[in-house]
């Protein structure tokens, strides 16, 4: 049995593979539509975005098949190696990187540009899985926690230095993995509260927010029966809240860049800037909103075709879908993503192997983050953060990166029964 090493295709999770195939092909058609005009040639024209995307799809398909026949143990064995190689690739951008629109985060290979940030996620996922996958790793152990965070904070900081804020923020999604592995939920509550205080402060100003919160805290304290134990926590929380609230103006003015600040204000409707920072979102909303229930029809979208929406084939690809396929089409995409991500989370939980499980969580969390941010910004619910929609947006690095992530997972998942049988063989 062992010598034959037959790979049973039935062990692959075909649900994910089918969703993947649908998304990639649908994405490709939409990239064609986004760049289409009446003089557009064949969808295979390699001088055009859609032609190149076809090439990337071919490469991805090849990698996907190759990955499915790789020895699953290799992922585990070489995880740190891959991690450090990819970190080195990210660092190399500082030296041989190509500057595009003020951001230095590309490496030119021939006529193609490689974006190491898209691959760094893979390295982190492998390394995190390996590190936390060791049987005695416990997140409650401070050393383990710090190293885990360091694993994804290192590339994040490097990418931030390359001014690619969007790609850098994606690494925050690994906190979801840590949450599953035992990180206290309190941190997420604190994060959520911070966001709420942040938004409230933007709307009402720090004096109101601090004042009202302090008043509530005071009332709570006065009517509380156990004053003795509450004095210090209430005082600390009130201080933290007022302190954070008061520092928001400082953060907005000095930490964030002007365009980032404006994007945040536009998202919360506090700034009307349809010409510059608000332009993308406004045009994006117009394109999607004008799609109606059933859309304008394939290749019939006017807003995207006439270049009203910038970056419509990459970060704003969802506009083309929304405009040409309407609410029905948009819903299809959202359902596909929800099913895919939930499926990956579900798969994660059925893994017997910690390495596999953590890796699956990484994949799901990255997809979740991309999905939430990308579509959220296209429909004006999230500030504009330039990250692609997985499998849809134009771009080789992004597509190949996600393909590797997903098919590593499929390969690992397919070994459940093999491992069982090997275990059986052993006994």
């Amino acid at each position: 049995m062992k010598e034959k090493k037959i790979i049973d295709t039935a062990t692959f999770d075909w649900t994910i593979i089918v969703i993947y195939a649908i998304m990639v092909l649908f994405g490709w058609f939409n990239i064609y539509s986004a760049s289409w005009n009446e003089s557009a040639g064949s969808i295979f024209d390699l001088s055009k975005n859609y032609g190149k995307q076809f090439l990337f799809i071919c490469i991805s398909a090849f990698i996907a098949i190759f990955w499915m026949f790789l020895d699953y143990k290799l992922f585990n064995i070489f995880s740190y190696t891959v991690y450090f190689l990819l970190i080195a690739l990210v660092i190399s951008v500082f030296v041989i990187g190509k500057e595009v629109a003020g951001n230095k985060n590309w490496i030119a290979i021939g006529s193609f540009n490689l974006q190491p940030a898209e691959f760094a996620k893979y390295g982190v996922s492998l390394a995190l899985a390996k590190f936390l996958g060791t049987p005695d790793a416990r997140l409650s152990d401070k050393f383990t926690f710090r190293i885990s965070v360091l694993i994804f904070l290192l590339p994040m900081i490097l990418i931030l230095l390359q001014k690619d804020t969007g790609s850098a923020l994606v690494f925050l999604s690994f906190f979801l993995v840590l949450y599953r592995e035992g990180l206290s939920g309190v941190w997420f509550i604190i994060a959520l509260c911070s966001v709420i205080i942040f938004v409230l402060t933007l709307y009402f100003g720090n004096i109101w927010v601090s004042g009202v919160f302090a008043a509530i805290a005071l009332l709570f304290y006065i009517f509380s029966s156990r004053k003795k134990y509450l004095t210090i926590p209430v005082l600390l929380i009130t201080l933290a809240v007022t302190g954070f609230s008061s520092s928001i103006n400082l953060i907005m003015d000095h930490v964030l860049k002007e365009h980032q600040k404006k994007r945040i204000l536009v998202t919360f409707g506090l700034l009307e800037d349809l010409k510059k920072e608000g332009y993308n979102v406004h045009q994006s909303k117009i394109a999607i909103g004008s799609g109606g229930l059933l859309g304008k029809g394939y290749l019939q979208g006017t807003q995207t075709k006439l270049r009203y929406v910038p970056e419509q084939h990459t970060d704003f690809i969802f506009c083309t879908i929304g405009e040409e396929w309407g609410w029905v089409g948009s819903m299809t995409i959202i359902i596909l993503f929800v099913v895919l991500i939930s499926r990956v989370y579900y798969l994660a939980e059925r893994q017997k192997n910690r390495f596999n499980r953590i890796f699956a969580y990484c994949v799901a969390s990255i997809l979740f983050f991309h999905f939430t941010i990308n579509i959220g910004m296209a429909i004006g619910l999230v500030p504009v953060i330039g990250i692609p929609l997985p499998f849809f947006s134009y771009g080789g690095s992004s597509l190949i990166g996600f393909t590797i992530l997903l098919f590593t997972l499929i390969r690992l998942d397919s070994t459940r029964s093999t491992e069982m049988s090997t275990l059986k063989d052993m006994y």
Partner: protein, 664 residues
């Protein structure tokens, strides 16, 4: 593990929650809030107007008169910014300096209407061609193709009229359906104005897509929402271009007009007002250059004398008095009146020229005897049938009204005057309610207070040719090859005078060209019936008048011709009319009277143009004269009746009457 399982579930729930939130948001954006559709339309769709071809104008023999010619205006749409604009390249193509470019931009900015303005009018063709190739680079600029009129003839400008850009007032005045928008062309005068609705066609629309930089990106949905323009209707006029051009030639260097009508239908064959201008002088592109010049020209070429100018008709009016005399049975065809080199009554004496004696009505018409018609008119006015002179006058006047006098005929030629047949009230006022035949004796021979336009004159002769009826003169024959012309042009207007009376007068008119006043102007082989007139007037030499029709039986053409300040009607007006009749009836033959034709063609009868000042001075003098006359009645009694001054007063009064009507 169970803890991990819970956390796993909470993550899946989070994914589903985000999915739900996004679905609701999308449902709101795409299905509930429709404002985005409007935003998208405003963003990307632009409606271009396609102007239809204006209807072509033809003559009665289907000869083309007016057609269309394209020209190109370069327009600019707003908001416009010079960012990323290849100004130098643009200026090079247009061959203008950068300063001029900026100047034009500023000018255009002031005239923005509905988001666009004209930047460069009437683009030369080579610039248009060069620009068209690179148009996609100059996003906010676009070329408007406009259509101007062109003409196959140098004659008929007064009838055809002209088109021009619609004025602000007209734009405001148009009703709610508002067909016109700023910059549209509209018929401003002549047939172009009268048949504007038929000629203009229906505008088309092209919905095009505009990209984020304002560049045109082809049609929307392959032209699904486009509207094809409908060309204007073909308008066939009743004009005979050949005759029209010939008449213009005959009338050159003369002031006056000729109107020729086909009596059986009322169709205007020719309408010439001289001095005239070429129709092409007032095309869209030439108007700016010529209009001022024409307006200030002292010979008044813009003035359509044929319908607007009104003259005392002179001797041709005798025909009507003769007809009324017969109908009222105060004279008979055989009645004779003596002529003592004129006619005397009380202190008045109306002169007459030498002619055979003992003339009956036919002879009196042929020889234009003043005495005969003074007597006739006296009989009419003092007819015992009526209780007094005033009553008789009212009856006489009613006959005149039946001939279409003292009213606009209602033809399709604009700026028609009413002319004037004085009301009894007018004379009441003038003579303190005490007036009789002697006060209005001048009306016997077509002088005095009456005023008739050349068109009315042609209509009168047309009615005589028909022996008692007429159709309102008109220029429209067919619209789009259908005979659907306005009903009013098909309505017969009958005159309550017996046909046999007309035959008598016609007989006299026939003799006019045989042995009467116009004996030398007859054309061999054509039975022409005519009447000469020589009108005294306050502006200088007598006006020469002639009206005639031919052939005598079953008339094909009736003509009224007036040449201002030329002299005898027989010398100047009659030849023009008879030459035209020959041309019309024999078509394209060389004139049988080449020396007469040459004499007319060569004649220069225009008054030397006067400066504005001297004209005004003269008017002042004349006004004084009138005042003197009014007060000093004794002077008037002793002198010969001065028709000139009477006519002048009448002209002024008629003018006031028109103005009052306008004000109302």
């Amino acid at each position: 593990m169970s803890k991990g399982g819970n956390r796993n579930l909470s993550l899946i729930i989070a994914v589903i929650a985000i999915g739900l939130i996004y679905s609701i948001r999308l449902f709101y954006l795409q299905v509930i809030d429709t404002s985005y559709v409007e935003f998208a339309n405003a963003n990307s769709k632009k409606i271009l107007t396609i102007h239809p071809n204006r209807g072509l104008i033809y003559d009665r023999h289907n000869k083309l008169i007016a057609f269309n010619d394209n020209f190109y205006d370069l327009s600019i749409s707003y908001p416009f910014s010079l960012k990323n604009f290849d100004t130098i390249g643009f200026c090079n193509i247009l061959n203008i300096s950068k300063e001029n470019f900026i100047e034009r931009l500023k000018k255009a900015e002031k005239t923005v209407y509905k988001g666009s303005a004209t930047f460069y009018k009437n683009l030369e063709y080579y610039k248009y061609a060069a620009l068209q190739e690179r148009m996609y680079e100059f996003g906010k600029f676009y070329i408007e193709i406009k259509t101007d009129r062109m003409y196959k003839t140098n004659s008929g400008a007064h009838v055809l009229g002209y088109i021009g850009e619609i004025s602000k007032k007209q734009l405001e005045k148009q009703n709610e359906d508002g067909y016109y928008s700023k910059g549209d062309f509209i018929g401003l005068a002549g047939l172009e104005k009268y048949y504007e609705k038929d000629l203009r066609g229906i505008k088309g629309e092209e919905v095009i897509l505009v990209d984020s930089r304002g560049r045109q990106q082809g049609s929307y949905l392959k032209g699904k929402f486009d509207k094809t323009p409908v060309s204007g209707k073909k308008v066939t006029t009743t004009l005979d271009l050949m005759l029209q051009e010939y008449a213009s030639k005959l009338m050159q260097n003369k002031a006056g007009s000729v109107v020729a009508i086909e009596p059986s239908t009322g169709e205007i064959l020719t309408l010439v007002s001289s001095p005239a201008y070429k129709p092409e002088a007032l095309t869209i592109r030439n108007k700016k250059l010529n209009y001022g010049k024409l307006l200030n020209d002292p010979t008044l070429p813009l003035y359509n004398r044929a319908v607007t100018a009104a003259y005392p008709p002179g001797s041709v009016f005798k025909l009507l008095n003769g007809l009324i005399g017969l109908e009222e049975e105060v004279i008979y065809p055989e009645t004779t009146f003596p002529c003592y080199r004129g006619y005397s009554i009380a202190n008045l004496h109306v002169n007459c020229h030498p002619h055979p004696q003992n003339l009956d009505l036919r002879g009196a018409v042929a020889n234009s005897c003043n005495a005969y018609f003074c007597n006739t008119f006296k009989e009419i006015i003092e007819n015992p049938k009526y209780k007094n002179t005033r009553d008789a006058y009212i009856h006489w006047r009613n006959f005149m009204l039946q001939f279409g006098l003292d009213n606009k005929l209602g033809s399709d030629i604009n700026f028609e005057s009413e002319g004037n047949i004085p009301t009894p009230e007018f004379y009441d006022k003038m003579h303190n309610n005490r007036w009789g035949f002697t006060r209005i004796i001048s009306l016997s021979i077509g002088q005095g207070e009456i005023l008739i336009t050349p068109l009315q004159m042609a209509n009168v002769i047309s009615a005589i040719a028909n022996r008692g009826y007429y159709y309102t003169p008109h220029c429209i024959k067919k619209i789009d090859d259908k005979n659907a012309i306005p009903v009013k042009f098909k309505t017969k207007h009958k005159i309550n005078i017996k046909k046999e009376h007309f035959e008598v007068v016609v007989e006299g008119m026939k003799q006019t060209l045989i042995n009467g006043t116009a004996a030398r102007t007859g054309i061999e082989g054509i039975e022409i019936c005519g009447k000469t007139g020589t009108v005294q007037n306050p502006h200088g030499k007598n006006h020469a008048v002639f009206m005639c029709f031919a052939p005598k039986d079953n008339p094909k053409i009736a003509i009224a011709c007036i040449v201002e300040n030329a002299g005898y009607g027989a010398t100047w007006a009659a030849p023009i009319a008879t030459l035209m009749i020959e041309k019309y009836l024999k078509r394209d033959t060389v004139s049988s009277k080449p020396e007469m034709e040459e004499r007319i063609l060569k004649a220069y009868l225009l008054k030397t143009p006067k400066s504005k000042d001297s004209v005004e001075k003269k008017n002042e003098l004349e006004r004084e004269e009138i005042n003197n006359q009014k007060t000093d009645t004794s002077k008037r009694k002793t002198t010969k009746t001065n028709f000139k001054n009477v006519a002048l007063i009448t002209e002024k009064l008629a003018l006031n009457k028109n103005e009052r009507k306008k004000n109302n």
